[in-house]
């Protein structure tokens, strides 16, 4: 964990042009540029460590570790950056997967890049308690298959390059990226149903339990007050007493409303889905699955990013 935290912090510092040096074993000094000082709590020079023991000994050190506020701030800041990348597989060409209608495969000697889109999602569940889960949805534009996996998609960079192989072209896809994203969201939501239902059941149960106790408490108090009111005899003083009891009953009603909304708020389920990043993976492919003739509306919407990407000419996959 420490190594990963260190890697993250150093990469972040590199990204925002913060120079650092190790001034003692395990202790670093970073010179914070003016533009970044507000983020680093006003520090011009930040002395930091990843080692708790060192931080215990030198209280002027910023400890960056699991649970430290600075680490959380860095992660939150990174999460605000919308980043997408594309990677080209270095593997040998393979035939494309079959589509949903199990079309025939037409194999030719043409090799091209077929795109798959990886959507990495973060799902935050909140209902009195809070937890996070990470998911990836991989959408294959050729087969139109979408697969949901828990955890972010791991990419082995020894199998990919950021630049395409010379001579290989990117296929024109008829898939609409917006639709693909919505389908990915739908698929993800389907996979979350059990989690959400479980949480909602728990929240409802807790809320009902609390409300039941509270309602009984208020009702009993109300009954006690009404009983008192019944015993009040007819005298001016007692009319005042009656008014006072009525006021107390009104207060109870106010209390009921307030507590009800407080409990509902505390135990209602909120699920927030965030798209962490997205990566388009291009796989060298030989041949295509033959599609049924497309309707005009199908052809209208395409993945312009793939088609218009810098340095890649667009052409039909079927020659």
């Amino acid at each position: 964990m420490v190594n990963k935290i260190q890697e993250l912090v150093f990469s972040f510092m590199d990204m925002v042009n913060i120079k650092r040096s190790e001034i003692e074993s395990g202790i670093w000094m970073a010179r914070i540029p003016a533009a970044e000082q507000a983020f680093f709590n006003g520090f011009e020079n930040l002395k930091f460590t990843f080692d708790r023991e060192k931080a215990e000994l030198h209280r002027d050190l910023e400890l960056i570790c699991e649970g430290s506020f600075l680490l959380r701030k860095i992660i939150e800041r990174l999460a605000e950056l919308p980043r997408v990348s594309r990677l080209f597989s270095l593997k040998a060409p393979a035939v494309p997967p079959q589509g949903p209608s199990h079309e025939l495969r037409v194999v030719s000697d043409n090799v091209y890049y077929r795109p798959r889109v990886v959507f990495n999602f973060k799902v935050q569940f909140e209902c009195d308690q809070r937890r996070e889960k990470l998911f990836s949805v991989v959408a294959d534009t050729a087969s139109e298959a979408l697969g949901v996996e828990e955890g972010l998609y791991t990419i082995d960079m020894t199998e990919y390059s950021e630049a395409p192989q010379a001579g290989l072209k990117i296929s024109e896809s008829n898939t609409d990226i917006l639709r693909l994203y919505l389908q990915a969201c739908q698929k993800l939501e389907d996979s979350l149903v059990d989690d959400i239902t479980e949480l909602q059941d728990w929240g409802n149960e807790q809320c009902q339990e609390n409300l039941k106790v509270f309602e009984a408490y208020l009702d009993e108090q109300k009954q006690e007050l009404l009983k008192k009111k019944e015993n009040v005899s007819f005298h001016l003083y007692f009319f005042q007493k009656e008014e006072e009891i009525d006021r107390l009953i009104d207060n109870l009603e106010e209390e009921r409303k307030r507590k009800y909304s407080e409990l509902k708020d505390k135990f209602s389920v909120r699920v927030k889905i965030g798209l962490v990043n997205s990566v388009v993976l291009y796989t060298p492919t030989v041949g295509v699955a033959s599609h049924k003739p497309r309707k005009a509306s199908d052809r209208l919407v395409m993945m312009p990013a793939f088609a218009s990407s810098q340095g890649c000419e667009t052409r039909s996959a079927i020659q």
């Binding site: 935290i5 972040f12 990204m15 931080a55 215990e56 000994l57 030198h58 209280r59 002027d60 570790c65 699991e66 649970g67 990174l78 999460a79 950056l81 919308p82 980043r83 997408v84 990348s85 990677l87 009195d128 996070e132 972010l152 990419i155 960079m157 024109e172 609409d176 917006l178 639709r179 994203y181 919505l182 939501e189 389907d190 979350l192 149903v193 959400i196 609390n210 106790v213 408490y217 009993e220 108090q221 307030r258 507590k259 407080e262 708020d265 209602s268 909120r270 699920v271 927030k272 889905i273 798209l275 962490v276 990043n277 309707k295 509306s297 052809r299 209208l300 919407v301 312009p304 990013a305």
Partner: protein, 713 residues
């Protein structure tokens, strides 16, 4: 490039929809082709005017006649929308090609529109466009789900082909993976708190409150077991897990600074008090006294804010349901609530009922039923059905006893050295005390602003109690300031001469003898820098290795000093300031060269070495000059309330039983300054001693009663 031109051309040349009517807030169109059924809505220029958004991609919500929400993404550049549930609507409404559909704007800010079928099988009577609709922005599957706006920005980058180097994209991923890994079962707060040894019972409490008690609990550990640490752990955990943002701590005014310091040094949390904030609503981490928060000025503001966590220290102050305190705290809107007290019951079991009623109203039923079921008839402090009561309390209250924790609490041994001052010191002491007593009744006025004010007089008295060197230094400064004129100046000069003529300090000599007899690390405390300089010089002249710690040092220097003391140096000479939270358990001998009149400060000194984590017995050595104010104070604290043998936290509870609005130090100051002579002062100290004895007795009674209630012993 090809695709762009193709789409534009087709959309313009052969639009698939035809607008039939249009006004400022709605349009109708005839459905042609299969695009809508397949989830696409192509907009022609007239329709686009109803979607005046700047972003390339944005979310749009449609609500149909059945109040079902359809989420769509609008691709402005290409002039179309995608919605996966248009198809469901199509089938449910039995829409046919050629039917007319209306889209009405409901809320431009929320980008919400009404989707309505105007003719066809599933048509309902049209409703007024101004009709109020309950808006719900929801996902396709579950109303609880919402999507981050950030998602569309990621999507836009793919659509526009704005790719970033993979190292940046994967860095975000690494961050999220770390964050997810961090949100584990372990307490994150443990990993980032400093200068504090956490114990099993504290961690257990934090876990229990968060996992089982839904964040609402009465923390009622016996004194000395670290309730503040428990509250700090829970607080930080909620903050780190993003479950709390707005936090309010209510504590007695006298403890605000202590809480602020502890939260800063131990948990790296910066809480602001009411003087440091402009606006209660804009400040997330606030600490205030109950009186300040419930004052007329602030009350309604505090009641309006939705807090995530409220911590009430010394919660036994909410024992009475009829008080403003109880009503105010009960009216604060908060998701989580921690109430801290070591004495949930002081005089009456109903006090406990009232505390629980704030946390979970109804948990112990109504007052009448509680009385019937749990109160013994004769003694309102004693319960009946105590097993059942304890069972019910376990759902809302956590109480640990020292005996349960198996923590070894080392003993405190106190050694008081009563020192006879040298004749010249004694004479100076008498002169100065007389001077102060006389001057106290001629305090500065408008007519005579150059008198010595009350605080300065008290300070001079305390300096004399510390050392003549500290006194001489202060007098020198006063005279040099040229502020004190005439007879004041004359008197001050005389006192200064006397102080300078004192050759040897008796306390200094005794201290040196004690140090020589010890062969281990020692901390020597003094209140004043002047005395500190004197002690350091004396020790260094004798060849001792000395570390010096005071409030004027930088953080780096303080760290270095403590580290030097831990590693090499035998003696640390420290003023009180700035020492909070520092780990000094490696030392077990403490010398009080002088004695603060505020017993809480004495306790803080002791707490530096006698705390959870100290494995050896601790020795406290007090130097006290006979027949001085310090000796009377020492007698009060040592003989009447056994200060030096108390557990951390117990002193505060005993002093609380005095029910005085003034602090003990203020009472002592009044005795010193208001007594016309030495005998009168002694009498007043005696009376105060009796009050302290009573307070201790009350404390012992409460402790016994609680044992019976909570432990059946």
């Amino acid at each position: 490039m090809m695709t762009n031109s193709l789409t534009r051309t087709r959309a313009e040349k052969a639009p698939l929809i035809k607008v039939e009517s249009r006004n400022e807030l709605s349009f109708t169109f005839q459905i042609k082709g299969k695009a809508f059924q397949q989830g696409y809505l192509f907009l022609n220029p007239q329709m686009k005017e109803l979607f005046p958004f700047n972003e390339d991609l944005c979310s749009v919500t449609f609500i149909d006649d059945d109040e079902i929400t359809h989420s769509a993404i609008y691709h402005k550049m290409r002039g179309y929308m995608v919605c996966l549930t248009f198809n469901e609507w199509w089938e449910k409404k039995k829409v046919n090609e050629g039917d007319t559909v209306a889209i009405e704007m409901l809320d431009l800010a929320n980008r919400t529109y009404r989707l309505r079928l105007m003719n066809g099988a599933g048509v309902k009577t049209p409703v007024d466009a101004g009709e109020k609709v309950e808006l719900r922005i929801a996902s396709q599957v579950n109303a609880a789900i919402s999507y981050s706006d950030h998602n569309l920005e990621v999507l836009r980058r793919i659509v526009k082909g704005e790719f970033s180097p993979f190292r940046e994209t994967s860095l975000i991923q690494l961050g999220e993976e770390l964050a997810a890994g961090i949100c584990s079962e372990e307490l994150l707060s443990l990993k980032t708190c400093f200068g504090v040894s956490t114990y099993f019972h504290q961690v257990q409490t934090a876990r229990m409150v968060m996992d089982k008690l839904n964040g609402r609990a009465l923390l009622a550990d016996e004194v000395g077991l670290g309730k503040t640490i428990e509250a700090g752990l829970i607080l930080k955990e909620y903050l780190l897990r993003g479950m709390a943002k707005k936090v309010l701590i209510l504590t007695p005014a006298s403890l605000i600074t202590q809480w602020q310091q502890e939260l800063k040094t131990k948990f790296d949390l910066s809480f602001k008090n009411h003087l440091e904030i402009n606006d209660w609503e804009d400040s997330d981490l606030v600490i205030a006294s109950l009186d300040t928060a419930k004052s007329q000025k602030n009350q309604s503001t505090v009641q309006k804010i939705k807090y995530d966590l409220l911590i009430v220290d010394e919660a036994h102050k909410l024992k009475n349901k009829k008080t403003k305190n109880w009503k105010f705290v009960n009216s604060i809107n908060t998701k989580y609530l921690l109430m801290l007290t070591a004495t949930p019951i002081q005089n009456d079991m109903i006090e406990l009922f009232n505390l629980i009623s704030i946390l979970k109203p109804g948990h112990l039923s109504t007052v009448q039923k509680f009385k019937d079921e749990f109160l013994a008839e004769r003694d309102k402090r004693l319960p009946k059905n105590s097993t059942r009561l304890r069972e019910m309390l376990s759902d809302i209250m956590i109480r640990h006893r020292r005996a349960d924790t198996l923590i070894k609490f080392p003993q405190r041994f106190v050694h008081t050295h009563a020192v006879d001052l040298n004749p010249d010191e004694a004479e100076l002491y008498r002169e100065l005390t007389d001077f102060i007593r006389k001057r106290y009744f001629t305090l500065p006025t408008h007519k005579n602003p150059r008198g010595i004010n009350r605080l300065t007089l008290i300070l001079l008295q305390k300096l004399m109690g510390s050392s003549t060197h500290a006194l001489a230094k202060a007098l020198d400064k006063m005279i040099a300031s040229n502020f004190y004129k005439d007879d004041f100046d004359h008197s001050l000069k005389r006192l200064l001469d006397m102080a300078r003529n004192v050759k040897h300090s008796k306390k200094g000599q005794v201290m040196m003898e004690i140090v020589k007899s010890l062969n281990e690390k020692v901390i020597i405390f003094t209140q004043f820098r002047g005395t500190q300089d004197y002690i350091v010089k004396m020790l260094e002249d004798e060849g001792y290795s000395v570390a010096v710690f005071n409030g004027q040092m930088s953080q780096v220097d303080k760290d270095r000093c403590i580290e030097e003391f831990r590693r090499d140096k035998q003696i640390l000479v420290s003023t009180e300031s700035g020492g909070e939270g520092r780990n000094l358990q490696f030392c077990k001998v403490l010398i009080n060269f002088d004695l603060p009149w505020n017993p809480m400060r004495i306790e803080q000194r002791i707490g530096r070495i006698h705390r959870l984590g100290q494995n050896d017995d601790v020795h406290i050595i007090n130097l006290s000059a006979r027949d001085t104010i310090e000796s009377y104070v020492l007698e009060l604290l040592d003989k009447k309330i056994n200060l030096f043998r108390l557990i951390i936290g117990e002193l505060e509870m005993i002093l609380g039983n005095m029910h005085s609005k003034r602090t003990l130090e203020q009472i002592i100051i009044d005795i010193v300054t208001m007594s016309p002579n030495q005998d009168a002062m002694k009498r007043k100290f005696k009376t105060l001693g009796n009050k302290l004895e009573k307070a201790l007795q009350t404390h012992n009674d409460i402790t016994r009663a609680q044992e019976e209630i909570f432990n059946g012993e």
